[in-house]
């Protein structure tokens, strides 16, 4: 549905987005991750046709966003960063306006407004002015605007920003549900959302894509992926170190002692092949093992490694 090829955007001498390419198909929810100022919003603004790219090509549902902007924009629902809305209108007036500009009239307009009011829990504030709304309500009003025409494509710039945990949960549920039939891109810097919602994630840093894959694939890049953590009782820490360090597939071992108990983590040489877990179990034969688990890898660590300037390779 969305095809981005060699997208570049420069502001003066600064390259905000640098040669970015990716696709999003129907049924996919693409998480767009990156530190602040990495180029997430700029990329989204180009996809939605607000900024023209400096070079590169964007097609939305088969329409080039520069050559056929209007049919392309018809397919997109967009929630801009900070969720802007006309402050001098009521929630209902605002939704009525956006429905009308999306070409909805009469009963179709009425039922579209009722649908999004229900989905976004806006009933309580329907006739309130937008500038009197709390941040959460304003955010949901703008979100409602983006789905009012039931678009095939959704571009959401930080859709859960400024919401309380319950509202976040609701919005994520909604995104995941809509993701089954739509193509969705959403940006966030909350990593737990990637697991909760995304089918795929892209990490972008200083304008360039540094990782692109399913959440599992990204997690496997972590040194924690496939690591084994075990808690032992009555075994000295140096004995544990000694034994586990000599395992064929172990890279390093870290231990922490708490009274009689030792917690050890064994990191694998290569992530996620399962051999390490087996070897650890064999090696600990005879020890009193209270707990043993294989780590899945940590997204936050992958994120930090890929986006911190000093550790970036």
């Amino acid at each position: 549905m969305i095809k981005v090829e060699n997208l570049t955007k420069t502001f003066g001498t600064k390259r905000a987005v640098d040669n970015v390419s990716f696709n999003v198909a129907r049924g996919e929810v693409l998480g767009f991750l990156g530190p602040n100022g990495a180029g997430k919003s700029t990329t989204m603004r180009m996809i939605t046709g607000f900024f023209p790219p400096s070079s590169g090509k964007i097609t939305v549902g088969g329409f080039d966003i520069l050559e056929q902007p209007i049919p392309a924009k018809r397919l997109i629902g967009y929630l801009p960063e900070n969720a802007p809305a006309y402050t001098d209108m009521t929630v209902h007036g605002f939704l009525d306006f956006t429905a009308e500009i999306r070409g909805l009239r009469g009963d179709a307009k009425k039922s579209a407004i009722n649908r999004v009011v229900e989905l976004c829990f806006l009933n309580a504030v329907l006739h309130q002015n937008v500038d009197t709304l709390s941040k959460g309500y304003r955010h949901r009003t703008c979100f409602a605007q983006s789905i009012i025409h039931d678009p095939d494509i959704l571009v959401l710039d930080e859709p859960t920003d400024g919401l309380d945990p319950n509202q976040k949960h609701e919005i994520r549920q909604l995104i995941r549900k809509m993701g089954e039939t739509k193509a969705i891109i959403f940006s966030t810097h909350i990593l737990e959302e990637v697991d909760a919602v995304c089918t795929r994630a892209i990490i972008i840093d200083r304008g360039a894509i540094v990782a692109n894959g399913t959440p599992e694939e990204l997690r496997r890049k972590s040194e924690w992926a496939g690591a084994v953590t075990l808690r032992l009782n009555g075994v000295p820490a140096n004995a544990v170190q000694e034994k586990l360090n000599h395992l064929r597939t172990a890279k390093k071992v870290s231990t922490a002692t708490n009274g009689n108990r030792v917690t050890a983590t064994v990191f694998p040489r290569t992530a996620g092949d399962g051999d390490l877990t087996r070897e650890v179990i064999e090696a600990t034969n005879g020890w009193q093992v209270e707990e043993l688990r294989t780590e899945e890898g940590r997204l936050d660590e992958v994120f930090r490694n890929l986006t911190l300037p000093d550790t970036k390779n």
Binding site: F50, P52, P80, P84, Y86, T87, F97, G103, Q145
Partner: protein, 250 residues
């Protein structure tokens, strides 16, 4: 959906926005008070004893509009940029020119409404004498066109900046130029500065709204004057679209 529908939707929203805040009512009241005061107190409507509105009523309009029209136009684009709704508006399936025309038309209709509400002065002059209502009608048309030209200039300044105050000041200065370009002391100054290059002086003075409004006040609907106002509007709206595009590219 067609362009007309889009323009209508945008204009409707804009008009509702005017009336949902006190700005519209304050504007109309001030406009009417100024008109009443200048027509009857300064313009000497009764003392003149003429069955006409030209010298007591319409002659003030270029000066009222100088301050009042930029006040109406200053928020048009500056506010959209400040609040961030510009991003929303320009990612909707509409052409940018439809948004520009829609917003302009809404404000222009609003100014038209304010102008229509001055009808008591027409009733008064008809009650006291028998004026040529055709002349009065022509002058109303001219006044509205002139307001449109000022408004289009305000659109440009409003698109340039996020700040309504800056937009207001710059557009007052620009509109002042439109008035002063036909002002005799300014013409004399121009002639001495340009060493009597008459063509250049003519070009500059032909930009003055006063010379073009003159015909309407005498009851003449001259196509050249109409074209002048419409082309100022057209050019200004085009410039607005260029400015809005520049914001997005750089």
């Amino acid at each position: 959906m067609n362009s007309f529908g889009n323009i209508k939707t945008i204009a409707k929203r804009e008009l509702l926005a005017y009336f949902s805040s006190p700005v519209a009512y304050v504007f109309i009241v001030i406009f009417l008070l100024l008109n009443g005061f200048f027509t009857f107190m300064v313009g000497g409507f009764f003392e003149r004893g003429e069955a006409s509105l030209a010298n007591s009523f319409f002659m003030w309009h270029p000066w009222f509009y100088l301050f009042l029209v930029p006040a109406v136009g200053m928020r048009l684009w500056a506010d959209e940029r400040r609040v961030g709704t510009l991003e929303l508006l320009l990612t909707m399936p509409i052409a940018p020119w439809e948004a520009i025309v829609g917003k302009f038309v809404a404000s222009w209709l609003f100014l038209g409404l304010a102008l229509v509400l001055t009808f008591p002065v027409v009733l008064t002059v008809n009650h006291l004498g028998s004026p040529d209502n055709g002349v009065i009608f022509a002058a109303y048309v001219g006044s509205w066109l002139m307001a449109g030209a000022y408004l289009a200039v305000s659109c440009i300044t409003s698109a340039v900046t996020r700040s309504q105050v800056v937009s207001f000041i710059v557009s007052v200065v620009a509109c002042l130029f439109l008035i002063l370009a036909g002002f005799p002391p300014v013409i004399n100054l121009l002639q001495s500065l340009t060493h009597n290059w008459q063509w250049l002086v003519d070009v500059i003075t032909s930009f003055s709204v006063i010379t073009h409004f003159d015909g309407f006040q005498k009851g003449v609907l001259d196509s050249r004057d109409i074209i002048f106002f419409l082309s100022v509007i057209g050019f200004s709206l085009f410039t607005t679209s260029v400015i809005l595009r520049t914001h997005r590219t750089s």
